[in-house]
Each structure stands twice: as C-alpha cells, then as structure tokens.
Symmetry: C2
Subunit: 332 residues, 2 copies
C-alpha cells in the first residue's frame, strides 16, 4: 500500500465561474486509523452540482474554505479498521473528499453491498437515483396521465426523474441544452418530448411540449427555466425544488423568478425543497423499486466515468457546463 | 322597494395605482328574478385586496373589464325568490358586485344564520376568518412553541392569523406599517412582537423579533417582506401564500424575491398557495372553532365599517394603502 495520499485542495474560493486553476494537487501522508476509525481507499468520486454550491457558503453543510481538501462523496473500500462495524474490504459511501485515502469514524458509515457494476452504487442506487425517486414521488406526487417536466434532464438526477415519470404513467418532458441531448432523451430514454433551454424559442417549445400545462415540475436549475415553468403550471401543480445550478456560478444572489408569490396563490401551487437524506426512513422501499425497474429494463442507467484523480477539477467544471449525460464520476 | 339600482361600474382599468376616478356611479333598473333566481338587496359589501387583483387579469376568476359593475362579495338579503331553496328575508353571501340589487341563480347561494352583529358574517365567520384559519392551520401547520410571522398583520386576515397562532401556543409576530399599528397588535390583540416594514431597520427588527428564526410565515404581501422572511426561515419552515398585495399596483410583473428557489432547497421549505374555497369540506369544523374562540374571548374581532355605497371606491383605495384595521366593509 503506498504511503502517499494524493489530495486535491481548494487553492482559492471562486467568486464567479470556477476553473481547474482554483484547485491544486498536493501529496500528503496516508492517514492511520485511530480508535473507532477506518481508513478507506477512494474508488469512485461522485461529481455533483452541489459541490459548487458548497464553495459559496453554508448550505445544509458548512462552507468550504481555501486550503481544505475539496469535499465530495465517494464509493470507497476499507483498507484499515479499528472499529467492529467494518472490516477490510468492505465498501462504503463516504465523504472522503478528493483524495486517495481518508480516515473516518466508523460509526457514521454504512456498508454497501458488492454488485456489478460497482458504479451503480453511485448512480441509480446512490444519491442521484434516490434524489430523483424521493423528489418526484414524495414532493411532486405525480398521478398517471399528468405532465411532468424536469430540468437538467440529461443529468444524473433528471435522466432518472423522467424515466420514473414514464413508469408512473405520466407524460415526461425534459428540459436540456441543445438538440442532441433532446434527441437522446426522447430516442434513448423514452421521454415524450424535450425542450432546448438554449434555443431562442424556448418558451414556445415548452408550451408546445405541455399543451395542457404542467402538473409537476422537478427543478434542478432555478432562474429563467424555473420562471418559465412557473408560468406554465396548472392549478394545484407541484414543484419539487432540488437544486439551483443556474445560480451557483453567480457573484451575489440575483433577483428571483417573477410570479413569486403571485402565481403560487392564484394557481394554488405547492413548492417543496428537499435533500435526499430527508427521506432516509424510506430508503429500503426506494432501492427495491429502483432495482426492480432496472432489472425489468424500464429504467436505463446512464453513467459517465472519467479516469484519474487529477482530472476531478476539470470533470466538475465540465459538469457545471452541462457536458455530462447521466451520472458523472471519477475512477481513482 | 325602490325601482332604481345604484351601481358602481369600472370606468377604466387602472394601469398603475387605482383611484376613485377609475369608477363611476350609475343608476340602473332593479332586476327581476327569473326562474330559479333570487333578487338580493346588498347589505354589507366586503372590501378585499383581491378586488384589485381581479382588475389585473385572470386569476382564479375571469378578469374584470371596463364598463362592468365592479365585482365584490357582499352580505345580502333575499327580496324576491323564484327558487324553493331560498325565501324572502333569507341572508346569503353572494358575489353581488357593487350595487344595491343583484339577480342571481338560487342554487349557487348558501343561506347564512342570522346573528348579532351581522357584520361578523363578513369578518371572523366570513372569508377573512376562514382564510386565516385554513391558511395558518392547513398550509402553515404550526406547532406549539414555534414562531409564526404574518404580514399585513393589522388587516382582516392577518389580525386573526396572529391570534390563532397564540391560541395554538405559538409566538406571534406581526408585520405592519407604522409603530401605532404595531402597538395595537401587541397591546390589544396579544401579538408577542410587531415589526414595522416601513422602518429603515425593518430587517433588523424582524431578526430581533424572531431570534430563533421563523417556522411559519403567512404571506399576504409578497415583495420585499416576503424576501426578508424567506431569508429568516428555519429549516423545514412553511410559507402559506395567501396574497401579494404589494404587487397588485405595479405595471408589469416585477422580479421575484431573491433566494427562490435556492433557499427553498437548502432550508427544505414548503410553500403552498391557497384560496379559501379550497377547504370548503372543512368549513363546519372551522366555524365551530372560530365561534368557540370568539365566545371565550380568546379571539377579538376587529371591524372597520364605512357607510354608503358611493364610498366604496375610496374605501378600496384606502384598504390598498393599508389604512384599515381589521375587516373593512361598506354598509349599503
């Protein structure tokens, strides 16, 4: 086992757009397990838009500071254990940060099952799949025959949201950037329609894709797409607020969407913000449903795996520019 | 019974602020009841911020047009009946519009009990009281010990919201314009604190009045007050969206509040828009609760009664400027 621990630290906090120059690769020492701890070897680091939000300030976790190892969740393997709960070789999902090794308290880790491919533990059976499942079904509460719109539809969460909507008998409309992504959504994943938010006639496309209005909007982006969907909602529609990736790169908070709160009142809308851990008590059922849909071929899993710890900064920047399809991760 | 029917018609649609000059008093003929209809004599016209919203465009009802009798709900007495459901002398709440007499289909009217004072049928047992009750308890879902903030707190709905919050064991904070209204809320109605949204240090006042943050915000106004409360919400807080009176007088829809949807996600907030009729199936229980609180003296009813049909335009303009305390109505 090598004694060095490659780490990617946050060299400076980005104020506007972030770039790989905001990060630095350093060599630290491999940590040792203290009492009650394990040392894990990072296998696949999950790339998420939320990574960028953490750099902006306190969210549901403390803000990141310059000089710290960049935060991030990963699929990791126990290589040293001083806790009875976990043994060498066990797989866990952990907030390792962007580094080869991390020493972590054993009590806060949950052992994951081995499966093929392992990457599914980070995509459909990980945060992305569970976020899609809970956000759509618990916050969106779609009924068969209703129209569900999801933004960032080609991303890790959105691509699953639309497919679950179809499984539940809904009309699924994806908002994504560019005609090529749109074709992928309709031709490969079975979405009923796709709308290009970069097109000049985006609002017209959205209206045509939802001729009866929108019953459920799963929002990953905020900003102009949020506003356009808000204006398209039907009475008693529901909006699941999952993220605001369009806002993560701005300087200061901008103005919010027009129609808030006026349209919320007149259309009697419900909006609900959530993060995946809010539904920890329903994980077992969720995973069982996701597994059965994958097994039956109703749910296609799309993964975007990049090799090399050193490529993490560029992989995150690309993710925030929307270059991924499905779940992006880096093999370490 | 006089044969003339005084009517106030909308002379032109206001584009910015409305004034009495947008209305005209005309003399029409007293209508006769057709088959299945009743003719009612208007007794008390309800003044509501929603009256202004209806002039802006379609909401949950069709937009008003120039030349039409101004729309509005009223407590009215049946003076002629060609329907078995209602007899002469019966009291009803009806969308009479701003006029002495209206002919209406009997089927859509509900007979009200006679009580003293009759005005309570328009305030605490009318739309205002039920709106406060359902918005707070069904959308806000406050629990004892939580902090409830309500805007337009000295108005017909807000003054009841704060008192119900107290009855439910919550800390009640009212947002209103001016120190005098604030004193009335705390000294007369029992609010724990009042915050003056017109003061330069409004945001500081709000933070001091809610040292632990806001669990439930009952929004009547939208705009800057909505934004300030959004930033003050606690995790898992709830916002009941009841109206947006600050927006009713603008030209075009403005930008919405900052923090939407970002703060909704990170704080995992729930927002719900509603109008009172959404809860028609729960009216009986609501009225029983309101009656028991009024009888026990826990809920004080504040009414602001103005005399004379001809004073309706000025009464509405004043309401939109916030000059009323409690429920404003015009005796005809």
């Amino acid at each position: 086992m090598p004694e060095t621990n490659r780490q990617i630290v946050l060299a400076e906090l980005p104020h506007g757009s972030r770039s790989p120059a905001h990060f630095r690769l350093v060599a630290g020492e491999r940590p040792r397990a203290g009492e009650g701890e394990v040392v894990v070897r990072t296998r696949y680091v999950s790339l998420d838009a939320a990574n960028r939000a953490w750099m902006q300030g306190a969210t549901y976790r403390s803000a990141l500071n310059a000089g710290q190892v960049m935060a991030g969740g990963a699929l990791a393997e126990v290589v040293e254990s001083k806790t009875p709960e976990l043994a060498v070789g066990d797989l866990v999902f952990a907030d390792t940060g962007w580094q080869d090794y991390a020493a972590l308290p054993g009590k806060r880790l949950t052992k994951l099952p081995r499966m093929e491919p392992l990457t599914h533990l980070l995509s459909v059976y990980g945060v992305a799949g569970l976020t899609a499942y809970f956000g759509l079904l618990e916050c969106g509460r779609p009924e068969a025959g209703e129209t569900v719109v999801v933004s960032a539809a080609a991303g890790s969460v959105g691509s699953i949201v639309g497919q679950i909507a179809k499984i539940k008998g809904c009309r699924a409309v994806g908002v994504a950037g560019g005609a090529e992504k749109g074709r992928w959504l309709t031709d490969e994943l079975g979405f009923d329609a796709a709308v290009d938010y970069k097109a000049a006639d985006f609002k017209k496309q959205l209206r045509e894709a939802c001729p009866d209005g929108i019953d459920v909007y799963f929002d990953n982006v905020g900003g102009d797409v949020f506003e356009a969907c808000l204006f398209g909602m039907k009475t008693f529609g529901r909006i699941a607020c999952c993220g605001a990736v369009s806002q993560y790169d701005g300087e200061a908070p901008r103005h919010g969407p027009r129609g808030v709160p006026g349209l919320i009142v007149t259309k009697r809308l419900s909006l609900r913000g959530f993060i995946v851990s809010d539904f920890d008590d329903k994980r077992t059922q969720a995973l069982a449903d996701l597994q059965s849909w994958v097994a039956s071929g109703q749910l296609k899993v799309q993964e975007d795996v990049i090799d090399g710890l050193e490529n993490l900064p560029q992989a995150l920047v690309g993710l925030l520019h929307g270059e991924n399809r499905g779940k992006r991760m880096v093999r370490v």
